[in-house]
């Protein structure tokens, strides 16, 4: 039997509503990024609902993600998903949180539609594993470096990625009950 | 029940000798008479067991229902008494499915390997004074030998089903039943040492003269209770057929009347274990006022009630805990009990 895990200090209520705190958090991200690699040019946006928003280029996602977790304590990935913006390409959205300070951040990555590849963040936040599989399954975004990129919700051998806006159901239509003629 | 109650008249000394005389007067060879008597005895025991098993299954469901704040069967007959009959009919008309992957003959035979010994034990159970099919001088040994025969049946059933769940169930059954056989026998052994006889009838008489062995052997009784419940595959020791883990264990693939045979065997074994417990620890048929047979039934059902009550209260053990419990706790306690009993008797 191993030792009991110590309790992480209790997080005070952080609505993070006051713009000042948010701006400070945004500045921290900017500074850390500048220290890491000046070419990143990260511009965290302050949102009104208590979240920060950060747009990251696809090539630098892994680097930024590692920085976010290791340097800035964003240790908790809430969700990872994708959005199909049709001709504007796909967008991968990550919601991450710093559990001990309550800072919350939305990371968006734009990827072109004709080349739907995105680096996998499974090595940084293991929970991304299934989220990425789901995004691959439903949106067809290929996560590179994912250990086990298979379909997860649809069955194996499914054709197409259903959450894409241009998805056409190729199955024959289901038999409907004929409406009684009156 | 009426048939069983009429048994004293049939097996009683007077009627027996008169009938024997009648046969000899008719000029028939004595072995025909012996066969006839044996057949009547077997029929009576069979009827007794089947009636009781029907009742037991109903009782389990009804008692389970009320222990859990529900009603249990209510629709078939008064208090749902005919529910078991209805279920039996339903099960009998169901399709007899034999899986393609099954080892056909072993699969077919397995339920009967379990069923026959369960009935054979009743040969030596004393229902009342003189009311016993055969008073073997090694009664306890006989019971132990036959109750061990269920293991090959379960192993056969699990192995031959061709299903992994069944196989796992069979392995568990094998390990569990062999383990619990030991403390079970040791608990019985302590009683035997005290009574000084292996004959069940003698053990009852010893209790009639002295006091019930449950008072002299409380530890032995508790060991017997636990080991018997384990032998019966009942909660908390129902690992071989743990439905939440192994679907249904060794009988996953059984359906229709083969399943019914397993079911029947299970309850016949419950009845058997209860009867043996009543005989060994609760004074068997002995008791004041009421007829001996009624006493026997009452005591049997006390044990049955305990087994059911335990089933509806406790969660299930895990497979390693089960083995630990048998070998590291129950066995030493049972051994100690035998040693202490031996010492007391020797003094």
């Amino acid at each position: 039997m191993s030792r009991p895990v110590s309790l992480v200090p209790f997080v005070p209520a952080t609505r993070m509503q006051d713009a000042e705190a948010l701006a400070r958090a945004a500045r921290r991200i900017e500074e850390a990024a500048a220290r890491l690699d000046p070419k990143l040019e990260l511009q965290p946006q302050v949102r009104t609902d208590g979240w920060l928003e950060l747009s990251v280029r696809r090539e630098s996602l892994l680097e930024v993600a590692r920085m976010l977790r290791d340097r800035l304590g964003y240790d908790y990935l809430l969700l990872l998903t994708g959005v199909d913006w049709e001709d504007k390409g796909f967008q991968v959205v990550l919601h991450v949180q710093n559990l001990s300070s309550g800072e919350r951040l939305v990371v968006t990555v734009n990827i072109p539609r004709d080349d739907p590849r995105c680096p996998s963040v499974t090595s940084i936040w293991p929970t991304a594993n299934w989220h990425e599989r789901e995004a691959w399954d439903l949106l067809g975004i290929r996560f590179e470096g994912h250990p086990d990129l298979r379909r997860i919700l649809m069955k194996e051998g499914w054709i197409g990625h259903p959450l894409r806006k241009d998805y056409q159901d190729t199955r024959p239509p289901r038999e409907r009950l004929p409406r009684p003629v009156r | 029940m009426a048939l069983a109650l009429a048994a004293p008249a049939l097996a009683g000394g007077n009627l027996y000798t008169r009938a024997q005389q009648l046969f000899l007067d008719l000029g028939l060879p004595p072995w025909i008479f012996a066969i006839l008597v044996a057949a009547v005895k077997v029929a009576l025991i069979l009827v007794f067991i089947l009636l009781n098993v029907l009742f037991l299954i109903w009782l389990e469901r009804k008692l389970g229902g009320h222990l859990q704040n529900r009603l249990g069967p209510v629709y078939t007959g008064p208090f749902g008494l005919l529910q078991t009959v209805a279920d039996a009919l339903k099960v009998l008309v169901k399709e007899d499915v034999i899986p393609a992957a099954a080892d056909r003959w072993a699969f077919i035979v397995a339920p009967f390997i379990a069923f026959v010994p369960a009935l054979m034990i009743w040969l030596v159970v004393p229902f009342g004074p003189g009311l016993q099919a055969r008073d073997l001088s090694i009664g306890v040994l006989y019971v132990a030998a036959l109750s061990g025969l269920i293991i090959p049946s379960l192993l056969t059933a699990g192995w031959s089903s061709g299903s992994k769940w069944s196989l796992l169930g069979a392995f568990r059954a094998g390990a569990q039943l062999i383990s619990y056989e030991v403390p079970l026998l040791l608990a019985q052994l302590a009683v035997v040492v005290w009574a000084g006889s292996l004959s069940l009838n003698d053990i009852v008489r010893a209790q009639q003269q002295g006091t019930w062995f449950i008072l002299l052997q409380p530890v032995g009784f508790i060991v017997y209770l636990i080991a018997a419940i384990a032998e019966l595959n009942r909660t908390p020791f129902d690992l071989p057929e743990a439905e939440s883990e192994l679907v249904a264990g060794f009988n996953t693939e059984y359906s229709g009347f083969r399943f019914a045979i397993f079911f029947l065997t299970e309850y016949a074994n419950l009845l058997t274990s209860s009867a043996i417990a009543a005989t060994l620890f609760l004074g068997g048929w002995s008791g004041p006022w009421l007829p001996p047979f009624v006493w026997f039934l009452l005591k049997t059902y006390v044990f049955v009630f305990i087994a059911m009550w335990v089933r509806f209260t406790l969660p299930r053990l895990r497979v390693d805990q089960l083995m630990n419990f048998a070998w590291k706790l129950l066995l030493p306690v049972a051994l100690l009990n035998v040693v202490v009993t031996g010492a007391i008797v020797a003094l």
Binding site: V5, V8, L153 | F312, R316
Partner: protein, 378 residues
Amino acid sequence: MDTQIEPRTAGGEEIHTEEIMVNMGPQHPSTHGVLRAVLTLDGERITGVDCDIGYLHRCFEKVSEKLTYPQIIPYTDRADYLGGMTNELAFVLTVEQALGIEVPRRAQFIRVIMSELQRIHSHLIWFGTFGLDLGATTPFLYSFRDREVISDFFEEVSGARMMYNYMRVGGVRNDITAAWVEKVREFLRRFPAYLQEYDDLLTGNPILKARTRGIGRIDAATAIAYGASGPVLRASGVAYDLRKNDPYLVYDELSFEVATATEGDVLARYRVRLKEMRESARLVQQALEGLPEGDFLGKAPRIIKLPPGHYYGHVEGPRGEVGCYIVSDGDRRPYRLHWRAPSFVHLQLLPIMAKGHFMGDMVAIIGSIDIVMGEVDR
């Protein structure tokens, strides 16, 4: 799988042993729905688990793109069908946050009452099925007996026992009456006795302790890395509860304790959930005390159109953090809706928890993370 089996020998000769693959599910009594876990077993010991999900996939997210916001509310009930109220709340809060709507105070209190009753309701089911997984049939019947009472409350106020469709953008669908409040009070008076009964029946049982202590252990770091939330995270020693850490509704005005444990095993999760039921009862009590008069449904636009942008709202559901991510392009319908289902996230932990344990522990672990397949597959 990567676990090596040590060679076994008998009389100097090596015995050839093989791992077997067993399909646990999709039809299995203890997978709580249609989860298929492909187990690799070395005897009874689990060397590998591979979860196969999707048997209950109902295209919730795709369907939502075709529905207006009020029409989605009944669909959210069906994601986690044991936590309908909190699911609706997550969705409705997200929409309200996007619209910037202020909800009347009475509605907020009613929402708290419903969420907490829902938590008790859901945990009671968990308690029963957990007992069932461990082979005890009776707790299931007792907890369902008591859960029915809460179902009756929900039915009276919302019209349905499971698929409530009760929350509305701007408030709730129906007001609660004084008679209803009195009934809930009566239930809360009896509730400690119920819990005592459960404690006597299962919690104090040595078999339960033996079956659960040290099983399926995950430490705080793993839990966080895998995004666990709710009781699973709190049982690993992280006192993270959205009701405290990101208070929504009126939770910051009510006093309650966050149930935590440090062991991170099945027993710890069991304890945390039982404690949570007590705390939820306290919360309902307080919310009933403080229930103000006023509107139960505030002002909301007749036709709900979210301004373009993306919004994330989350609440503490019975199973963990229920999140709702809405992308809007300004239409009456969401452009994209994503549901963060705690069960989906927790199920990833199953292989980590189960590895090296016995077959019988597997069901205890599945029971302890309290998955609802409707939410996993959506």
